[in-house]
């Protein structure tokens, strides 16, 4: 069943991508064409076939010693903050997550 503009609007909301009305229309066309391309997947009888989530088999996680080693990976605070759009002292700065006034609580 084809995806409607309403369906695509819901997906966009979930994906946190604000689409304009004309983008939504184009995206709906695209989504339906793309899903058609995936059709061969639905034609298989896959009973008893194990999925392959990772392409190279027989691998296991690489475990490290549980020791803090700041020298390798830890970013100094100024470096970590360097690319952020807004910062405040030692922090990333974000708008309110609960709304901009007390009535929103």
């Amino acid at each position: 069943m084809a995806l409607s503009q309403d369906d695509v609007a819901q997906i966009a909301d979930y994906a946190r991508i604000a689409l304009t009305p004309s983008e939504l229309e184009q995206m709906t066309t695209y989504m339906n064409e793309a899903v058609d391309l995936l059709e061969p997947i639905t034609h298989y009888d896959l009973d008893g076939v194990e999925p392959t989530f990772h392409p190279i088999g027989d691998l296991s996680n690489v475990m490290g010693e549980d020791v803090v080693d700041d020298s390798v990976r830890a970013l100094p605070i100024d470096v970590a903050l360097h690319n952020a759009g807004s910062t405040h002292d030692r922090y990333f700065r974000v708008p309110s997550i609960l709304g901009d006034s007390e009535e929103d609580f």
């Binding site: 695509v8 695209y30 190279i56 970590a80 759009g85 974000v94």
Partner: protein, 503 residues
């Protein structure tokens, strides 16, 4: 007087080590070539002249101090702009990361620098590697050096074009569904996607985590083998848990004959709809060349490969949606100003930071991972992945490598393919290898008879048999040198050769 256009990576490194020229002279020659050629090819998003000259100076100082130089001493290399290199931006050709300064250096980049390479810049790409022509770059297009009215392929189009135009001797790209092999084919250079896990991806911006692999471009198979040595010699990278220890000397058996080895051909693929006659003819000549060098040719079947595009366009968008969720405009990336709530800031930052194709792929992934749809497409796609992997395993019981096209056609003109789903189909010969994690390499065969554009053969092999792939690739190159195609490895595109680059 020598020209960088005609020197291999090994010759440059040897020349620097012997004192025939300095690394600084090589760096200057490469920067001069970029200066005179770049306006016509536009392969770079950033030229790192300062970093190049500093690295070259360090190489020269090491030589002066009597220290042993690395195997890539003084070799000009370019990096796809999804790889972190401190001192450069890493933009992924996206407005989202237009001002993002690299905060650390990717392992693959560092290993080439540790081998003595000179970093000349960061190359253009499809935004976040979503595409097959480099046209989805948010900044500018890249032209194919063999015909600037044609696309260079993608997504690593800038890396392929930089090498084909003689702006760099080596370049790194990343390949999620063909993004090294297809642009290598379009631009007439050697491009290798090693086995999944062979090269560390630490510091490379993730697209499809079960598919992505970093690999080198060069104008000769030997240069690609040399780069593979530098990328893998130190073994598995503790900073990438998917990275494997596969350190072998990729140069060791490079020139061994292929006599007695077996090359598989898949009749179903050679008859595939969309495969142009000139590509089919070139492939037939490549098979004949291998046969004349003593390789056995057998037919093999890959019955489920017809579903590879469908499986890929389920798996890759889902992984992309998951990976690109990190771009919320808070810690880095474009941040929409004046938003009242975090949700609004996130939605608008992503809407205005990402380009069209990046939004499409994430939307598709978001849909496919939603309840009910996951069961219909995502889980079955991973089962079909098993079937495709089993097909290859059966085929490799009968042959050492499989020879097939890198792309169904040679490079097309800008504007000829614009429909996104039609574009997806152009990955039909490369994508299945990412699904299985196996290695593959694209090797130039010269110019095709009709379009007069570069045409290539692709070799695929079982996981962790990348050294044998290089040996077969070298055999094809020998065939080309003996008259199959242009000769002399893959030359710099004629419109660019000789413009700067003199030593």
């Amino acid at each position: 007087m020598a020209s960088l256009d005609s020197l291999s990576a090994a010759q440059i490194a040897a020349g620097v080590a012997q004192g025939d020229f300095t690394a600084t002279e090589v760096a200057q020659a490469a920067l001069d070539a970029i200066d005179s050629r770049e306006k016509d090819v536009q392969a770079f998003l950033q030229v790192s002249a300062d970093l190049a000259l500093e690295a070259a100076k360090r190489t020269d100082a090491r030589r002066a101090a009597g220290e042993k130089l690395g195997p890539l001493a003084g070799v000009p290399v370019a990096f796809k702009d999804n790889m972190h290199l401190v001192g450069t931006r890493t933009t992924c050709a996206s407005k989202m990361l237009a001002n993002y300064d690299s905060v650390f250096t990717a392992t693959c980049v560092q290993r080439l620098l540790d081998a003595g390479a000179t970093p000349v810049g960061k190359t253009n790409m499809d935004e976040f590697a979503f595409g097959s022509t480099t046209e989805s770059s948010a900044f500018h297009r890249t032209n194919n050096p063999w015909d600037t009215g044609r696309v260079p392929g993608g997504s690593s189009g800038g890396s392929a074009a930089a090498v084909a135009a003689g702006e760099a001797t080596l370049a790194l790209g990343s390949d999620t569904g063909g993004s090294i092999r297809q642009p290598a084919s379009f631009c007439g250079v050697v491009g290798m996607k090693p086995t999944y896990g062979a090269v560390s991806r630490y510091g490379v911006v993730a697209f499809g985590s079960s598919l992505d692999q970093v690999g080198p471009f060069g104008r000769r198979v030997e240069d690609v083998a040399l780069a593979m040595n530098a990328l893998t010699a130190e073994g598995a990278d503790p900073l990438d848990s998917t990275s494997q220890n596969c350190a072998v000397d990729f140069l060791e058996h490079l020139d061994d004959p292929v006599e007695g080895l077996t090359v598989g051909v898949v009749p179903q693929l050679m008859e595939a709809k969309g495969l142009s006659q000139e590509v089919r003819d070139a492939l037939t000549a490549a098979v004949a060349s291998l046969a004349s060098q003593g390789a056995r040719v057998v037919e093999v079947e890959l019955p489920n490969i017809a579903s590879a595009i469908a499986a890929y366009y389920v798996i890759a968008p889902c992984e992309a949606f998951s990976n690109l969720a990190r771009f919320d405009g808070v810690r880095y990336g474009y941040q929409e100003p004046d938003c009242q709530t975090l949700a609004e800031q996130t939605s608008l930052s992503r809407a205005h930071g990402f380009g069209e194709e990046a939004k499409r792929r994430q939307m598709l992934g978001a849909y496919l991972l939603s309840s009910g749809v996951y069961e219909k497409y995502y889980y079955p796609a991973q089962q079909v992945r098993t079937l495709i992997t089993q097909d290859y395993a059966r085929a490799y019981q009968k042959c050492d490598v499989i020879l097939l096209p890198s792309a169904p056609t040679t490079a097309w003109r800008f504007g000829d393919v614009s429909d996104p789903t039609q574009m997806y189909a152009s990955d039909m010969f490369t994508i299945s290898n990412n699904i299985c994690g196996n290695g593959g390499i694209s090797v130039p065969l010269g110019l095709a008879t009709q379009s007069h554009m570069p045409v290539s053969a692709q070799l695929q092999g079982p996981a962790f048999s990348d050294r044998r792939l290089l040996r077969f690739a070298r055999a094809i190159e020998r065939g080309v040198d003996q008259g199959l195609g242009l000769g002399g490895g893959a030359p710099v595109a004629p419109d660019f050769a000789g413009r700067g680059g003199d030593l």
